[in-house]
Structure formats: structure tokens, C-alpha cells
Subunit: 222 residues, 2 copies
Amino acid sequence: MRIGELSRRSGIPVPTIKFYMREGLVSQGERTGPNQARYDGEHLRRIKLVRALVEVGGLSIAAAREVLRLMDSQGTDLDTLGKAQYALTPRREQPAADDEAGEWAARQVDELIAERGWAVKSSNPARRTLADALAALHRLGQDDFLPLLREYAATTGRLASVEVDALLERPDLISMAEAVVVWTAVGDAVLTSLRRLAHEAETTRRLTPPGDGDGDGDAREG
Amino acid sequence: MRIGELSRRSGIPVPTIKFYMREGLVSQGERTGPNQARYDGEHLRRIKLVRALVEVGGLSIAAAREVLRLMDSQGTDLDTLGKAQYALTPRREQPAADDEAGEWAARQVDELIAERGWAVKSSNPARRTLADALAALHRLGQDDFLPLLREYAATTGRLASVEVDALLERPDLISMAEAVVVWTAVGDAVLTSLRRLAHEAETTRRLTPPGDGDGDGDAREG
DNA sequence: TACTATCGATAGTGAAACTATCCATGAATG
DNA sequence: CATTCATGGATAGTTTCACTATCGATAGTA
């Protein structure tokens, strides 16, 4: 197919597809003339993957490029998968604040990880993200979130277990690599939106007197 | 205090604080002269809150303003808290894709919510976020994520329960409003980073032969 | 043959989040 | 009390990011 069809089938404008190719997110088509090239289903699929990472996963173009590069690297091994996982985590440019809250938060993260017996490298950028979040909570005096943190950790541990189970069902490393990338990026959106939905449901359940409402548990009101 | 001290104590540059005031995220100081104003601890706290929403929660300035406006509104009631919750969810500007994947995803979301008996308004923007995520997975043929979705829903339901428990411990509505805002925004970061950490830990646990390594479960290697 | 599509290259756009400069004045210091 | 620094409000400028638009030569198509 030519680029027009690629655009129609993906829903992405031609100039944007060209932009992705320039940026190295999508490979060039097979050249058939000075101003002609041919694309195939792989290109289409790749464009959909880029959109998933960028639009749903919220990755920057640069981060997406790095993730895809690692995913593509021949001889995808577990180490590379780990790096791809790291590249999927939003990075902070600035060094961590070295104030009281920052140090406290870093300590909390270390303790939590030790407590759960998790094997996590110190280079895992999620350590930093978590520490930043805890530091922000601490600065705001929201320390009563801490007990929830333990709950969250236990819960995500269980989730990770079933997730890895499902991942290991994949027939080959290439397929696993793609699942790691997609599930990690898109899974964040799934998890956080489910949390929002559950929060509303739970609040409604708690604060609605029993017998109030239509009783089918669905409060769709637009 | 004056703006310089506010800057020093928050770690935010003076021009940025001025910018936040212009944008209505932080209230003006109490004027004491043509070019003088006085600020207090509330201002400092507010700046920290803005930073938490923007930096950790990833909210845009516009979204943060809306959230804070709702949080501030006198007579904070549960309805307002719900609106604040909605304002914390990242919005899509474009209408949902009406392709097969989009429709399929919307159906999945409705079914899931019905299945769990969740009372969730159809206006909850998290429905859309979740549908977009599921649509992306479907377009990529990653339908084996679906069983995990059920697991995720059950899990976030339990989390929401303990979270609302903790929330209702708060003495007043104002304090609850702040917790809703902060926990929702920062909680996303906590949850997703914990998921990353758990994922690495679980992968390591599964793929490391028993007895391999130092056995303390901590694989910090930098 | 006319018209549309495509190629790669280059330049332009619009939003977002700051950042810099200015001037009149107030505070602080020797 | 003179000098220096800080402040407030206003306005304009900067940087980054993710696209978009245009161009001239060439290719497919009705």
C-alpha cells in the first residue's frame, strides 16, 4: 500500500506519518521509485503501536523512540526487556530534592521494597517516581496516606503476579516484548481509570442510604 | 513573609510564583503598599499543592486551576468533590473513534461496570479513558489482556474501599476535599510506580533459578 | 493529457509553561 | 540618609514539543 492508504487505515494524517518516519518511530517504506514507496501491514501495526504509546500511554516522542528501539533490537533478551520497561517510566530531569521530605521519601521507598522482599535494582526509575510522590505527600502533611501505601504495594504485587503469568503464556520473546511494552504503557491508563471508577462507586455505596435509588447499582445520569 | 521567602521555602522561582498568581492558582498576597504584599503559610502550602498536582500528578495548569477552584468553593459538598475528582482525570479533546475497536471498547467498559455492580455516572471521564485504553489494546490484537482487566477491576475495587475508609477518618469536609484531590492525583503516580517495581520484582523472582544470587531478595546493582 | 498522489526536505505553527525585563516604589544597611 | 537590593504588576520573550504546511520534482490514474 501507499502512504495514503496507511493514513486512511490508521486514522493518522499523512504528514504525521511522515513525521514519525523522520523521527525514527516507523521505518521507511520499500522504495520503488524516486518518489514512490510501498508499505505493508507491519507499518500499519507500528503506527497503531506508536499511537497507543503516545496517546494512551502519554509517552513523549523521544521516549517512544527509545522504547521501540529496545523492543526492536535483535536478540531481544530479558535484560533488554527490562531496559524497555525502564524507558517506559516517565523521567525527571531535575535531581531529587535533598530536603527533609525528599530524604524521608527515599527512605520510605527503600524500607517498603525491603519489607516486601522485592528484588528491584536501584536504577529502576520507578523508585524515583515513587519517592517524588511520597515526598509531595509528606510536604503536604498527608502522612495518613502511608498505611494505604502498604495496601497498594501488596495489591500491585498480586497484580504483577497474574500479569507475569499471562505474559509467560506468550509463545516467543518477540511477542513477549510487545506485550511488555503495550501492557506497561496502556496498563497504567487502565489501572488509574479503574481506580477512578471504583472510587466513585465506593463513595456512592458508602454515602447512599440503603434502599435509596433504583437499586440496580447503576447511577448513569449523564 | 514576602515573595522572596515564599520562593526560598517552596523551592519555586519568584517569576513562577507570580505566574501562578496571574493564572489564579495561588491567591494574591495581602497588599500593604503600592509594591508590597504579605504572604502567609497558606500561600506556601498552596504552592506546594500546585507543585504536587502539576509535577507529580501531571496536571496542566488549566486542569489544576479547575481542580483548585472546586476544592476552594465554599460549602464543599459531595457533589463538588465528585466534580473535582472528574477534573483530575486527563481529558481527550477529540471525540472517541467510532471504529470497530472503539465501539467494542465502550461495550467492554459498560459490561465491566455492570458486572461489578458499580454505580458510576456516564459522565465520569474515566469511562472514556478506560475505553480508549481498551480500544488501543484491541487494535493491537492484545485481547489476552482482557482476563487481567477483571483482576484489575476487582483489585482497584478493594483499594477504593480502604481508601474511602481512610478518607472518612478526616474530621471535616475541607480536609476531606484536600485529601481527595491530593490522593487522587498523587495516588496515580504511587500506584503506577509500585506496579513497575512489582513487575520487576516478580519477573526476577520467576526467572531466577532458586538459590541463585545472594538470597536476600534485594538485587540493587545501580 | 489533465489531475491527483507521493517523495524527501525544509520551514512554519500553536499550545503550554514558564522566564525575563521594566519601572516605580519600598525595605534594608552602613 | 544615601545607596543598594527587593518587590509588585505589567508586558513581552523563550523554549520545547508535536505536529502541519509548503515545495518542486516525479509517478500513478481517469
